[in-house]
Subunit: 191 residues, 2 copies
DNA sequence: GTGCGATGTATCGGCCCGATACATCGAAGG
DNA sequence: CCTTCGATGTATCGGGCCGATACATCGCAC
C-alpha cells in the first residue's frame, strides 16, 4: 500500500525521504494522516532490496553550470525508480485485491487513476462501491434490527456512519457515470 | 484502543472471544472493520496479565477422567472484567490523548459516551472538532494553492475529503450544542 | 554568536492485520 | 446412517505501520 504510493511519486520525479513524506501528505491528505518515518524508511529499504528503486547521493555533479538553490550537498539520499519499478507500479495499480477496496487502499489507487486505463478505473470504482454498500447494509441492519437495545450515542455513531456510506455510494455512482461517458471528474462544477 | 473497547464490552457482560469479536463489529461497525483474531487474543492476554480481566472456563467435561494431555478438546474461555478493570476503563474513557481525536480512537470513545459525564463528552467532541478542522484546512490549502498542478483524480479525492470534513464538523457542532443543552443525541429526528 | 524552527536520516518497541491451523457442532441431504 | 458443510470457537505467525526517540545540519532572527 505504501509501496504503491511511493512508487507512484517516484515515478513522477526522484526524491529524498523527507520530501517524499510531504508529497505523500499532500497527495493522500484526504484519506490518511501523514505517513510515519517508521514506515517510510523500512519501505524504501524493501523497495530497494526488490530492485524497484535505487538510492543515489545528491552530491554536486562537478561543473558549476546549473545549480538550483534547493540542492544542498549534505548527506541527503535521493531515491529514483527503476524500469522494473515502473513496470511493477503499473501492475500493482491495475490489479485489485480485497484491500484495494478498503479506505486506504482505494484512496491510493484512486489518487493515481490518471495513470490507468478506463477499464481498470471502472473495475476499481465498482469494487469500492460494492464494498461500501456492504458496510451500509451492515449498518442498516444494526439500526433497524436493534435500535431499541442500543444506547443513544452508539446509535448516533451508526447513523452518521450510514450517512457517510450513502454519500460515498452516490459519489462513486457519479464517478462511474462520468467514467462511462468518457469524461474526467470535476467537469461542470464551479465553486 | 482495542483495550478500551474490550473493557467496555466486558463491562456490560462476560463474554468469550468469538462473541466479543461480533459485539465489537456491531458496536464499531460505523468506524472500523471487524477486528482480527490476531489482535483480539493477544490483547486479551495483555489485559489479563495486567489484571484487568480474568479468564474462566465455561465448559464442564463432567466425566471423571483427567483432561487428555495433547491437543484435546478446548473449552470456551469466558472473559470477565475485574474491579481494577472497571476502574481503568473509566479512567481511559475520560482521559484523552492525541489519538483520542483520530478516527478510530474517537469512535471508540464516542461509542461509550453514555458511561461518561458531560464535561468529558464536551471535551472530546471539541477536541475531535479541532482535529477535523485542521484536516479540513489542510485540504483547503492544497485545493486553493495548487489546484492547477494537481491531476483531476487527486483533485476529486481531495474535494470529496473536504466535503466529508465539513460534514463531520457540522455533525459535531450539533452534538456539542445538544450536549450543552443537556439533551441526548437523536431527539427530534424521525426517518 | 546563539538559540530555534525547519530540514533530514534512521531505529525501536508495540499494536494490529491477514493468513493459517485446528477443533466442535447442528442441520441438510443422499 | 453417515457425510458434507457452514457456523462457532481458540490460537499463532510473519509482517506492515505507527509513535517516540535520537541525532545532525541549515538558515535566520535577535
Amino acid at each position: 500500500m505504501l509501496d504503491l504510493a511511493i512508487l507512484g511519486l517516484l515515478h513522477e520525479s526522484p526524491m529524498h525521504g523527507y520530501e517524499l513524506r510531504k508529497q505523500l501528505g499532500a497527495k493522500l491528505g484526504a484519506i490518511r494522516a501523514a505517513i510515519s518515518y517508521g514506515s517510510l524508511y523500512p519501505t524504501l529499504r524493501r523497495l530497494q532490496a526488490a530492485g524497484l528503486i535505487t538510492e543515489g547521493a545528491a552530491t554536486e555533479p562537478a561543473s558549476g553550470a546549473e545549480v538550483p538553490a534547493l540542492t544542498s550537498r549534505r548527506g541527503r539520499v535521493v531515491y529514483k525508480i527503476t524500469a522494473e519499478g515502473k513496470e511493477r507500479f503499473l501492475e500493482m495499480l491495475a490489479q485489485a485485491g480485497p484491500e484495494t477496496y478498503e479506505d486506504a487502499g482505494f484512496g491510493v489507487h484512486f489518487a493515481f487513476f490518471s495513470r490507468t486505463d478506463q477499464d481498470t478505473r471502472l473495475r476499481i470504482l465498482e469494487g469500492r462501491r460494492r464494498r461500501i454498500e456492504e458496510r451500509r447494509e451492515g449498518l442498516r441492519d444494526a439500526l433497524t434490527r436493534a435500535a431499541e437495545r442500543i444506547d443513544a450515542y452508539t446509535l448516533e455513531l451508526q447513523r452518521h456512519g450510514l450517512d457517510a456510506c450513502e454519500r460515498e455510494v452516490r459519489w462513486l455512482e457519479e464517478l462511474i457515470a462520468t467514467e462511462r461517458s468518457g469524461g474526467q471528474p470535476g467537469q461542470g462544477r464551479e465553486g
